[in-house]
């Protein structure tokens, strides 16, 4: 597969604790179950997807392609999942490293790249937005998060309009159904501010998801079925269709 054909999916949020890691890991896991070869990339310096694998990986654990080495990304098999995994840490802020992400994935014979990014500013995001095919904007349901999301959403819209950007975006509203005193207002907010991007995908609030992840059970695996994990799986399938229609994802079709 050509490097240019490999779709790069960024999982982003302006807030911490919004479910980025659960979504990124759930999507990659579902695609792996469907016979794809996804590469899951963890850009957090600490925490993030690497904690799923039951051990701490230092930030410079694997960057074989960046160092000019030919060995593939390591295969991780744990809790019923099997996928290529890269602990990139903050290294992807470097534009050259971001450019070579697809190249590395192609060498490792991966068919897609899912990047779990910590909440970060525009300058850190720019290199990755240049190579992104699809951006998932994860929004927790609380009122403060919605209020703080305005500049974030505006920034994404501006970036989409810039020349050289070729990504679609999907808003994922995480935690719906929680007893929020300001729920009506947040819904008004959603209609006002998220309309121009894309219709939001909703994931119900589920505190047991993190407990499962601590045991290495990924959202959507047979051992951990719940309305939230089912919603993540539906989203994964929807994204797969979107990427197939987009045309960059030859192997996703």
């Amino acid at each position: 597969m050509e490097a240019a054909d490999i779709p790069v999916v960024l999982v982003l949020s302006h807030r911490g604790g919004s479910g980025k890691t659960a979504l990124a890991a759930g999507i990659a896991s579902d695609w792996a179950d469907l016979g794809e070869k996804p590469l899951l990339v963890d850009c957090a310096a600490a925490g993030g997807a690497s904690a799923l694998f039951g051990r701490y990986l230092p930030a410079d654990f694997v960057f074989p392609v960046w160092r000019g080495e030919e060995k593939p990304f390591p295969m991780v098999q744990e809790g019923g999942m099997s996928m290529r995994f890269l602990k990139a840490g903050p290294a992807l802020k470097d534009p050259q490293a971001a450019e070579r992400l697809r190249e590395g994935a192609a060498k490792a014979r991966c068919t897609s790249v899912v990047v779990d990014l910590p909440a970060c500013g525009r300058s850190e995001l720019e290199p990755l937005l240049r190579v992104a095919t699809l951006v998932l904007l994860v929004m927790p349901v609380d009122a403060l998060a919605f209020r703080g999301s305005r500049p974030f959403l505006e920034m994404i819209q501006e970036e989409r309009a810039r020349p050289g950007r070729d990504f679609q975006s999907v808003v994922v509203v995480n935690g719906t159904g929680v007893k929020n005193p300001a729920k009506e207002h947040t819904e008004v907010f959603l209609r006002q501010y998220l309309g121009p991007i894309l219709a939001p995908v909703e994931i119900p609030h589920d505190p047991s998801l993190k407990a499962g992840m601590a045991k290495g059970i990924l959202p959507g695996s047979e051992a951990e079925r719940s309305p939230a994990s089912d919603a993540i799986l539906r989203l994964a399938k929807h994204l797969r269709q979107m990427l197939a229609q987009h045309g960059t994802a030859g192997a996703m079709a």
Binding site: G16, S18, G47, L144, V178, A214
Partner: protein
């Protein structure tokens, strides 16, 4: 002016809430205080409720000179500045870390956060090297929901000598109530965070004042009278309860 950095290695660990509530508790303890929000998408100003506690956006200061210029005028205005940052590895922090006198790391104690906990040591050590004079006040376990209280002990074991004794108790509904007050058109709700949280933050403020030697403003006359009155009342109650009952008709 003392600057206290509130940081975290993982997301959703109540950094902004802690920064704002700590500044408010410091103000109640007669230390004029403010919040500097360094998050890429700042929200601290929506949470401040106490009069005279301010929240500023510090994201614009991206050189040491600019940070110095931003902090200098504040020295006349407050005695403690609480800095709310994004992540420990946020590049913005490179310019601010040298101005920090102390750091508190907030940490969630849900099962997944505890599993990810050991990953923070590298980032923490790096920041301590960046400013060796910065005092590390400790980890602040943030408890979301009563089922997580049992996990605080695990954090204490993992972080041993660094852990603060104050755990901030929250429940999900308290957080949502606090945050819903910042939605346009919605009336502020009367109890936007519980008494338990308030007491925990007051204790954290007292700890911070003691550790950093922050000078408190002198008590005003009404405050002094209120404290003396309360003390006198308590003394009377205590004296009555220990006074032996003496009978004049044939002994006890």
């Amino acid at each position: 002016m003392k600057t206290i950095l509130i940081a975290s290695a993982t997301g959703g660990s109540a950094k902004t809430t802690t920064a704002v509530r700590l500044a408010e508790s410091l103000k109640r303890a007669r230390v004029p205080a403010g919040v500097m929000d360094l998050s890429p998408y700042p929200t601290a100003n929506y949470l401040v409720r106490e009069k005279d506690v301010f929240a500023l956006n510090g994201r614009g200061a991206a050189t040491s000179v600019a940070v110095d210029a931003m902090l200098r005028p504040l020295e006349d205005r407050c005695r403690a500045l609480v800095i709310d940052t994004g992540r420990l590895d946020d590049p913005m922090l490179d310019f601010w870390i040298e101005f920090c006198d102390a750091m508190i790391l907030t940490t969630r104690v849900d099962a997944f956060a505890l599993k990810a906990f050991e990953g923070i040591w590298d980032s923490l050590e790096q920041r301590r090297k960046d400013n060796p004079e910065m005092k590390f006040l400790g980890f602040l376990p943030v408890v979301v929901g009563p089922e997580e209280k049992k996990n605080v002990r695990q954090l204490q074991l993992a972080a041993s000598r660094f852990v603060l004794e104050t755990a901030v108790p929250f429940d999900q509904q308290e957080i949502l109530r606090a945050q819903s007050t910042c939605i346009e058109g919605l009336d502020p709700l009367p109890a936007d965070y519980g008494e338990a949280s308030r007491e925990a933050y007051d204790a954290l403020a007292a700890h911070t004042i003691g550790q950093l030697g922050i000078e408190q403003l002198p008590q005003t006359e009404p405050e002094r009278k209120k404290e003396v009155g309360l003390f006198t009342k308590l003394w009377r109650v205590a004296s009555k309860s220990v006074r032996p009952k003496v009978s004049t008709q044939g002994g006890y």
